[in-house]
Amino acid sequence: MFSLATLLVVIAMAMTLIRAVRGPTPYDRILAVNVHGTMTVLLIALAGFLTDRPDFLDLSLAYALLNFVGTLAALKFFKHGHLGEEQ
């Protein structure tokens, strides 16, 4: 049951990569990577359950926050051309 869910999530992650590669605009790529990150969060949690190691959940929690900050940083870079460091 866990292995089936993990397999489906891995297939879904591969599919989002197709959009990340093909996406014409940079915002498509950021969106695809964001969805890929959310699925990575759940994949780590599922892997924690598969290998019966509860400490994986801390990794998935940390990665959920990192993914969010990474998406916002990439968007800020595309909106302003720099990340706020003075020229």
């Binding site: 489906l8 695809a32 968007l75």
Partner: protein, 114 residues
């Protein structure tokens, strides 16, 4: 009792994983960025929460359930914000939502039509 839990969590996990596939399909197939945002948010809301509920039902210790709940809370707040940020940046970046395929995915639009 544990059999019912297993069946329920198995169903939650399966439906959550299928929603992930549906969301990935939506991100690939939909014509322009703003419709792809709909596809992407299916994974964040439906797929993620169903998978987390399936895992919480299988959690053997209390701490694991709390951590899964925390992941759900984090996703609850960050996912819509990220989708909003992408749409806002795209609008400022000059993409217009009212004519799909106008300047994003134009070649794909022809590809789909051809």
């Amino acid at each position: 009792m544990s059999l019912a839990l297993d069946i329920l969590s198995g169903a939650c996990l399966f439906v959550g994983a299928v929603l992930m596939i549906v969301s990935a399909l939506g991100v690939i197939r939909l014509p322009d960025l703003f419709t792809r945002l709909h596809g992407a948010s299916i994974a964040d809301t439906g797929g993620a929460f169903l998978l987390l509920i399936g895992m919480i039902l299988q959690a053997d210790s209390f701490l694991v359930g709390i951590k899964l709940g925390l992941i759900g809370i984090v996703l609850f707040f960050t996912a819509p914000t990220a989708s909003h940020a992408v749409a806002h940046a795209a609008l400022i970046g000059g993409l217009s939502p009212d004519d799909p395929g106008a300047n994003q995915g134009r070649e794909e639009a022809e590809e789909d039509r051809a």
